[in-house]
Symmetry: C2
Subunit: 128 residues, 2 copies
DNA sequence: GCCACACTACTACCGCAGTAGTATTACCAC
DNA sequence: GTGGTAATACTACTGCGGTAGTAGTGTGGC
């Protein structure tokens, strides 16, 4: 399975998120969604999509004159790859270290702590 | 506080790790440590260090003709920044989502689960 | 005194994200 | 059918990580 290189820039990730949301989107669609958050030229979005297609991150079909793009990589694969890099590269693979660091350097709400606790219990149940 | 841009490449991170380990290091030192893992030209390391100095990631003092570099950014700041980016960018800031994802897409040992559980309990105690 | 060596400085190049302008083309309205 | 519009195609440029060669220079050994 040729996992296309999954090191993504911010814009690329943002575009993928948009495509994950709506399955298919034209350049105009993506541009419109991006509009409020960043002021990008229409052609910038088009160029980015074409570059991403070259890297097999997205694909397209034609509807009349319009290209409808869709994501070729799953959100899952991207987040997994990012997680691996994060834990592996910065904490030598120790998930506990990574979580520890996240817990101590961020504000974490009681609710989140409860949620995570539950996740751990579930993981244990699955493992055992 | 001007946090210098903390988006680091792999080599840069590796170099910082080396500097964190030994406080000060010459180009030759860094090159020697890197040697077994990646075959880099001496000048590559020197160039990288100079570039990193331009970005204020490292600084140097001169000992005779030799530059002794030291890290200007703390390991802490780098991992925090990376953590923020990871959680913020990929999980909309939800630490629980991030941890959940890490737990389900990786092999996690019993021991690690126990460790994390303990961390959660501690965090709760601190919070309350 | 001279040579080799160890350093740093400078320059260059690739790949890729990001950004955008210009050119081309097809279609729709009237 | 002609003009405007909306679409893609092509090209270009910046910045940066990564990589490395070459040039310049000071120092120590003999």
């Amino acid at each position: 399975m040729n996992a296309p290189n999954l090191r993504l820039g911010d814009l690329q990730l943002r575009i993928l998120e948009i495509l994950w949301d709506r399955t298919e989107a034209s350049v105009a669609d993506v541009h419109a969604v991006l509009k409020p958050e960043r002021e990008l030229a229409y052609t910038t979005v088009a160029t980015m999509l074409r570059k991403m297609e070259a890297r097999e991150l997205v694909g397209h079909r034609e509807e009349g004159r319009t290209f409808l793009y869709r994501a070729l990589v799953q959100a899952d694969a991207v987040t997994r790859s990012a997680g691996e890099h994060f834990v592996g590269r910065l904490f030598e693979g120790s998930l506990a270290d990574a979580v520890s660091h996240l817990l101590t350097t961020r504000e974490v709400s009681r609710t989140e702590l409860d949620q995570i606790e539950k996740l751990i219990r579930e993981a244990k149940r699955r493992a055992k």
